[in-house]
């Protein structure tokens, strides 16, 4: 069964983490420190993933950025400890969700039955699956949809588009990271220091997001790492473009960039299809909400109003969409 979260609460976290990264790159000052603390508080009051703001600030500091002072970082850390203690003691932990495992989708009872509670093969799998979902666009919500499609004898083009575009981009990022590691800091100019900072923050956010999704794999949990993936991809492509090279390597780079860029362009053009497919699914979720209205009168009124509002908005049934769109554009959510 799908978790019912018809309101996108992850997008503000992405925005707040990017704001924290911007603050840590800035010139600093009292207002930057105040803004950093407020950003963290706003993120944590939105969702548990708000802790990623702390991760971004600390990784920025480790990378040598001084936009946010050490005093502010200590303040944010204290607020985080208070938040975590309060969150873990006062509210229940949400570790009961369906999740993918290899080519299957498992319900919470099945996960407990097969892997037991606590740290298990499943939790290790979900952490690495979450990292892989950012770097290679597979698995999706923990399920290797391309393997499942292969078992059924039909891999639609959208799966190749996703996996090839992401893999080529990840290879470009890896080559760039390897070059900078090999070259060390001796030749580092201002740009390179900034770029290394973004790579370090991306690595920290990727690891932290993956660890935070230990209980179940969900693509949206990795959306902040995904946004930083785009930033480091930009730096990697830029690095490949500005390096002086001979004709042969330049041709290879051109072909790789042409293929990756074309496939990403298809994914971008397909966003409207993804949104329409999602809108139809969530529209139906709201219709089904009638059976799960809360007992509390105020909550009942609120959910009923939201449901009526959702149902009043026209959503196109996928039947009207061309069949090829489902094969070319992403729908595995």
């Amino acid at each position: 069964m799908k978790e019912a979260t018809p309101v996108n609460v992850y997008l503000p976290i992405v925005g707040l983490v990017l704001l924290a990264m911007h603050l840590s790159r800035g010139r600093g000052g009292v207002w930057s420190d105040v803004a950093a603390v407020l950003t963290f508080v706003a993120a944590c009051l939105t969702l548990e993933s708000g802790v990623l703001v702390w991760v971004a600030l600390m990784a920025g500091r480790l990378a040598g950025r001084r936009g946010v002072s050490d005093r502010a970082l200590v303040s944010v850390t204290i607020v985080m400890v208070v938040y975590l203690v309060g969150r873990l003691t006062l509210l229940p932990l949400d570790t009961q969700n369906a999740s993918g495992y290899l080519t299957e989708r498992l319900e919470p009872e099945q996960i407990r039955e097969r892997f037991g509670a606590g740290l298990s093969r499943f939790t290790i799998y979900t952490v690495f699956a979450s990292i892989s979902s950012v770097l290679f666009s597979e698995p999706r919500d923990g399920t290797f949809v391309i393997l499942r499609a292969w078992q059924h004898g039909d891999i639609p083009p959208r799966m190749w588009i996703n996996i090839v575009s992401a893999t080529l981009t990840t290879v470009l990022i890896a080559v760039t990271a390897w070059r900078w590691l090999r070259e060390g800091s001796a030749d580092a100019d201002g740009d390179r220091t900034a770029i290394r900072g973004d790579f370090l923050i991306f690595g920290a956010l990727l690891a932290a997001s993956a660890v935070s999704s230990f209980a179940y794999a969900k693509d949206v949990i990795m959306s902040t790492a995904g946004a930083c993936y785009a930033i480091v991809a930009f730096w990697a492509v830029r690095d490949h473009l500005i390096r002086t090279r001979r004709v042969g390597p330049a041709m290879v780079t051109a072909v790789v960039l042409l293929v990756a860029s074309s496939l990403w362009a298809v994914r971008v053009v397909g966003v409207h299809h993804v949104l329409r497919t999602q809108a139809f699914a969530f529209h139906n979720d709201w219709a089904g909400m009638r059976n799960y209205l809360p007992d509390d009168p105020a909550a009942h009124r609120l959910v009923s109003t939201l449901r009526a509002d959702a149902l009043s908005r026209p959503v196109v049934n996928p039947w009207f969409m061309p069949r090829w769109a489902d094969r070319v554009f992403d729908i595995d959510y």
Binding site: V237, H240, L241, I242, R243, T244, R245, A250, M251, T253, A254, V255, L257, L258, S261, S262, W264, A265, V266, V268, V269, H272, F280, H283, N284, W286, A287, G288, R290, N291, A310, L311, S312, P314, V315, V316, N317, P318, W319, F320, M321, P322, A325
Partner: protein, 148 residues
């Protein structure tokens, strides 16, 4: 300043520029009231919504006054029949959740209607659809028998 290698830069730039141009053209056309055919939707009848798994449209149409117990026209590609009641459409389309939703929203079946739906479901052979129909068996029906 670093030297830009032109060919890779052009190769990297052309596809996203084409994508932006395409999206811009679609949005621009929409601003002037033209919707491309691949982006057009359409109104569904209650039976079509039931057949096409559109729970939200089923709920919306019934809450707006549509009768869940009469026949509606169906477009040629939706099902193999041209007219059906919403319940018949849901059964023919193998949608047990829509059967439950329609019953919840006021659809009713008498002895004859239930028998007909049960036999359609049995003919299709989908267990969860048969279960969904059987859950609403009128108390006056003892045993259901379907003859071909």
């Amino acid at each position: 300043m670093a030297r830009l290698t032109t060919l890779p830069a052009v190769c990297a730039a052309i596809p996203p520029l084409a994508a932006v141009a395409f999206c811009g053209a679609v949005f621009g056309a929409a601003l002037f009231g033209y919707t491309p055919t691949f982006w057009q939707g359409g109104a569904l009848t209650l039976a079509e919504a039931a057949a096409l798994r559109d729970q939200a449209e089923v709920a919306r149409l019934i809450e707006a006054g549509a009768d869940p117990n009469i026949e509606y026209a169906l477009r040629p590609d939706v099902l193999a029949v041209s007219r059906a009641t919403p319940l018949e459409a849901a059964v023919l389309a193998r949608r047990p959740e829509i059967v439950q939703l329609l019953m919840h929203e006021g659809a009713a079946v008498d002895e004859r209607g239930w028998h007909r739906l049960h036999c359609i479901a049995a003919d299709i052979g989908e267990d969860d659809v048969i279960e969904a129909i059987d859950a609403y068996r009128p108390s006056t029906v003892a045993v259901a028998s379907c003859t071909r």
